[in-house]
């Protein structure tokens, strides 16, 4: 952990509103630019520090480079200049917008896939896969193939596959955007519950402001073309959060505040 903090500390520019200033920095994005070969300036001078057990939502109009930022952190794309660093020993798990299941594997074999691929023995993989499936309310569907599952269940299975790895860092790329509003809310509730029981660090890219406020402790607002960080909102709603939070006036005022910021970002 000391190592982690030491490596990251040199990169942190400023961190104005993080809840826990003492927690080690897990992800450090330092003056990152990304220009694609077609000339698109996707990210402009983006700096961001994410601390341990924080959920940071990144929100902005489409084309603001929020997915590019997440992919750069995951190492799926490299910045044109600047540095994206994940603390040493931190195992990130990427959750795609699509469930990205392997249709020829049953639910449990999908849930254990990443464990098996990283060499965890069969029995232990299976046990941890079942645990993760129980966590996302998929117990009883172990032998079902993805095609037999609903869209919401597939997304849960995709989450379970990552949860089974017990990752230190979740990189969530609009994971619920393909779902209907009711399913999305349910999965938001479940993710909040899981986080409370088994806390993890997460960066959530989304274009849904309700989801951002509900899940995150900080919301980073990005503006488009070129994508840069416009502002940041600290969401001070108490944990644990459940669906009741959505009825509080604090929640509503955060949503309003974010809505105003988003409009400014889009302008």
């Amino acid at each position: 952990m000391e190592e982690t903090a030491a490596i990251a500390s040199g990169l942190v520019a400023d961190d104005p509103s993080s809840g826990d200033r003492e927690a080690p920095v897990i992800v450090a994005v330092d003056h990152v630019n990304k220009i694609y070969s077609d000339g698109t300036h996707a990210l402009k001078d983006v700096s961001l520090a994410v601390r341990d057990k924080e959920i940071v939502a990144v929100i902005g109009p489409s084309g603001c480079g929020k997915s590019t930022l997440l992919r750069a952190i995951a190492g799926l794309t490299s910045p044109t200049d600047g540095v994206c660093r994940v603390a040493d020993g931190v195992q990130p798990a990427f959750v795609f917008q699509q469930p990205t299941l392997l249709p020829w594997r049953t639910a449990e074999r999908n849930a254990e896939l990443l464990l098996r691929l990283s060499g965890v023995p069969r029995a232990e993989s299976r046990r941890r896969a079942h645990e993760a499936m129980t966590l996302v309310n998929l117990a009883g569907f172990e032998k079902a193939y993805p095609r037999a599952l609903s869209g919401g269940m597939r997304m849960r299975l995709s989450l379970a596959r990552s949860l089974a790895m017990k990752p230190d860092l979740f990189l969530l790329d609009e994971p619920f955007s393909a779902l209907d509003e009711i399913t999305r809310k349910t999965l938001n509730d479940e993710l909040a519950r899981i986080w409370f029981h088994q806390p993890f660090t997460a960066i959530l890219v989304t274009h849904n402001l309700y989801e951002a406020i509900f899940l995150a402790s900080r919301v980073v607002v990005m503006s488009a073309r070129p994508g840069r960080i416009q502002t940041e909102i600290a969401v001070t709603l108490p944990y644990p959060r459940n669906s009741d939070v959505r009825l509080t006036s604090e929640y509503v005022s955060f949503v309003e505040q974010l809505s105003i910021e988003l409009e400014r970002a889009a302008a």
Partner: protein, 288 residues
């Protein structure tokens, strides 16, 4: 919900197979297949009527279905023997085309440079009528069953190459990234992701080529002849034609068709078995 989709896992069923209750009853099967059955009956009926009226007494032009079957039965020893010869050649030719087609597809899927240098040749092989290069094959390998097998393999080769290649290069990008993020090696990625993802496409190629392997064998037999043994169905067809024994000719053609159908059906069934649990193409209509 949970209970309907998945019964208690007391006896671990092999991977979510369609429950027995979903097997269609005999009545359901009849309902589903009667249009196809009716079409066959109409076709055979029309054939019989034509043979008995327009072509009455001219069985050398169009023998009726009954006569064809009778003739086939009379010469059954010859039909079976020649069918066996054709079957063996077609099987070997099919196997060669599968191994060769899949091997080249893998090489092409691995390297763009290889794809650019090999694919044009595959297309050239595909567009050149094999019958035109049969003489070259004969010069190289002689009038023997090797040449027949090579002609069969050459004809069945392209669909397997093309479909396997298409399947291997069409892996979902997110799935590839999922594996990449986990630092999975080339071999494991191939085995656990790219090959299984390509299976539906590979099966499509195998199905097309199953019929082509039989067609190619018949073609080879036309060109090469008996090749020392009794000779396959292709040889028998040529011989029946030479003496204008049309009922025999039809009987051998019928046997060829049945052989090709059997080939196709077996490959299709094996493909269905592989895909039925997970692929949309093999989805059973299950009444909820």
């Amino acid at each position: 919900m949970a209970t309907t989709a998945n019964p208690a896992p007391a006896t671990p069923a092999r991977g979510g197979r369609i429950p027995r209750g979903a097997n269609p009853s005999l009545g359901r099967r009849i309902v589903r297949f009667w249009p196809a059955g009716l079409a066959v009956l109409l076709f055979v009926g029309l054939w019989a009527v034509l043979a008995d009226t327009v072509f009455a007494g001219k069985s050398y032009l169009l023998p009726g279905p009954l006569l064809v079957v009778q003739t086939g039965w009379e010469i059954r020893d010859s039909v079976l023997l020649s069918a066996r010869t054709t079957l063996v050649s077609a099987l070997i030719g099919y196997a060669v085309s599968i191994v060769g087609g899949m091997l080249f597809a893998m090489i092409m899927a691995e390297s763009k440079a290889m794809e650019r240098s090999l694919y044009p040749w595959a297309v050239i092989l595909q567009v050149t009528p094999i019958i035109a290069i049969a003489p070259i094959i004969i010069i190289w390998f002689g009038f023997n069953s090797t040449s027949i097998v090579i002609i069969s393999a050459a004809i069945a080769f392209f669909p397997i190459l093309n479909n396997t290649h298409l399947g291997l290069v069409s892996t979902d990008r997110n799935q590839v990234e999922l594996f990449r993020l986990q630092h999975v090696g080339w071999l494991a990625t191939f085995w656990h992701l790219r090959l299984p993802a390509a299976i539906p496409s590979i099966i499509a190629g195998l199905r097309v080529s199953a019929g082509l392997a039989v067609t190619g064998t018949i073609l080879g037999e036309f060109v090469i002849g008996t090749a020392g043994s009794y000779g396959g169905l292709g040889v028998r067809i040529i011989m029946a034609e030479a003496v204008l024994n049309t009922p025999q000719l039809y009987a051998y053609v019928l046997a060829t068709t049945l052989l090709g159908l059997t080939f196709f059906a077996i490959v299709s069934y094996l493909g269905y078995r592989l895909l039925r649990d997970w692929h949309e193409s093999a989805r059973k209509e299950v009444a909820d």
